[in-house]
Amino acid sequence: MIERHLAISSVVSLPKTELDALLAGLRHNGYQTVGPCLKDEGLVYAGIESLADLPRGVISEQAAGKFRLVQTGQERYFDIIPGGQSWKQFLFPPRLTLFTAQKDGRWRIAPDGEPAPRYALIGVRACELAAIEIQDRAFMREDYADPIYRARRRNLFIVAVNCLHPAGTCFCVSLGSGPRAERGYDLCLTELDDAFLVEIGSELGRSLMTELACEPASAYLQNAANQGLEQAVKQMGRHLDTSDLPQLLAGNLDAERWEQVGKRCLSCANCTLVCPTCFCWDATDHTDLLGKVTRRERVWDSFFNPAFSYFAGGNTRPAIRSRYRQWLTHKLGAWKEQYGTLGCVGCGRCITWCPAGIDLTEEIAALREEVEA
């Protein structure tokens, strides 16, 4: 091992096999290492121990309503654009026990005593980093912080990966969120043929790297990574014109297009479940048969669920078109006023995983066309 001085923002090259040592180092530091792996002909984020758990030589072909795995036979691990899951499941779990209430004469609450898990996320794309940043704003406002999210977020270690092969439903360039990971990571990988290029983003990332067999990155390798990223910018499968989006949407709540898309939308809520920024939740009680013990759970919820806006005065949005309009006008409109940013990062999941193949880039284009006509 050569003597070297690493600093935050240093760029080094790392043999691919050394990723195992990095994962081991993270586990040694108390992290659960989670990353992409293949399951049931899809790609999920789950516990990984070594390179062998990663999807080697596989990419995903994506289109509206379509996700297919394709073998490339190459010795590459991070060319695959993710599936329906996003990292939000680790910070904002889909189902989580908040507390248990027991009736022993009087009601008493036993909080869920589990300490917040420490996750190291391996392979976070630039768009997904942007999504975490957006959820940070929703869950950790100045006047209110979600205690569960905050505890998990504090414990997070992020290994980002630069995207070199965007899928057909990708449009991060339109949102300015990718394909290069610019900030918010501890380490950032760019996968080249023979090595990872690693940019160091935090002190913990730096200290972990000092234990690994890395070398200063040659200009050749850095150049190759940059060229790869420039290529990726040109390969976006979709484009979204983001100019004046909040005004466009707020000003056209009665557009004909809502009617049209409302006829295709199944109100299945897939888009909100796969969206890495959607944050709506509900709380439900689960009771034993005697009614003496009840477990209060938090679960993901969605505008598209019929009961979502139901209250004593009735259902605010009985029609599917109203629910779709709510999702899109929130995501690409009102979100800006609430959190200073749009709620979309251009990951394309809502397009890929819509069983009706509804494409929000197409919907916005159609709305513009209708307004301009």
């Binding site: 609450i109 909080p111 406002r141 006047d143 709506c280 709380a283 009840t294 209250f311 005065g313």
Partner: protein, 285 residues
């Protein structure tokens, strides 16, 4: 917007327990539940403002957002919740008795702007259970009657038997509040006005330059009350509307009660109409 109090910022949705000390039947399907926190320290420090609500929790059933209907200056004593038994949770609450416990989180939401409307004539227009969140505002006015000009309460219910707080009207009238009651459908006991709340505007003269309107009730009533107020040129900054949606967390976090850029539970419930104007007439928004 005022900051909301959460009792346990580190424990999501965890309530404090409060004991039901009395239940006042109001109508066939509405009662007022008077609550006192189990822990004296919490009871001592609990404060709310007119127009705010609490989340009441009954384990096994869930939470319901209930407006506080009692006197804010008496909050150290008991906190009153006027509840209509209309959903899963509220119907289960109806089966509780004095001495039983309810979980309570709150108070939440922006209050009625009692300071901003000082010096104005005040019209309180409400229908049905919409009087409950206005009653704390009435108590506030009673305590500080000299700070307000003419005060008119227009209150409507479906039938005479659905009217809330019947035994208090006299006291309010004695304090120079013009209490105008109307019902949609009269019965043989009724000799008062018949008609819907917005119709009231046709019977009286108001000076829009010095009038503030606070309104709460069924959304359809609110719509027409606002329509009449606008027709009489009450400025949109002085028309205050208390909205209801499916509030779940009370903290603008769970996403259920959104309206345009607002989380109604935290940015409302009370809004000046000027803030609602762009969304008010959009169907199903």
């Amino acid at each position: 917007m005022t900051p909301t109090a959460t009792t346990h910022p580190e424990r999501l949705l965890e309530p404090d327990w409060a004991e039901i000390t009395a239940i006042t039947p109001e109508t066939e399907d509405i009662s007022t539940f008077w609550l006192r926190f189990e822990a004296p320290a919490i009871q001592e420090h609990y404060r709310f403002q007119p127009g705010q609500f609490n989340m009441l929790y009954l384990p096994g059933y869930g939470e319901a957002a209930i407006s506080i209907s009692s006197d804010p200056d008496e909050s150290r004593r008991l906190v009153g919740h006027t509840i209509r038994f209309v959903g899963n949770v509220t119907r289960a609450i109806n089966r509780l008795k004095v001495g039983d416990l309810l979980g309570l989180r709150g108070p939440f939401s922006a209050p009625w702007p009692m300071d901003a409307i000082e010096g104005k004539d005040v019209i309180l227009a409400s229908g049905g259970i919409g009087l409950a969140p206005l009653r704390p505002a009435i108590y506030h006015i009673l305590r500080h009657r000299e700070r307000y000009g003419k005060v008119i309460l227009v209150y409507g219910a479906r039938t005479p038997r659905d009217l809330l707080y019947l035994n208090e009207y006299e006291e309010w009238r004695k304090a120079d509040i013009d209490v105008q009651i109307t019902v949609d459908h009269a019965d043989e006991t009724w000799s008062g006005r018949v008609g819907v709340v917005p119709m009231w505007f046709y019977h009286f003269r108001i000076d829009p330059r010095k009038t503030a309107l606070l309104t709460c009730g069924p959304e359809i009533m609110i719509r027409f009350v606002v329509f009449e107020a606008l027709a009489r040129r009450i400025p949109t900054d002085y028309i205050y509307v208390s909205l209801e949606r499916n509030m779940k967390c009370g903290q603008g976090a769970c996403g259920h009660c959104q309206l345009g850029p607002y989380f109604i539970c935290k940015d409302g419930l009370v809004f000046p109409f000027s803030a609602l104007e762009p969304y008010f007439n959009v169907e199903e928004y």
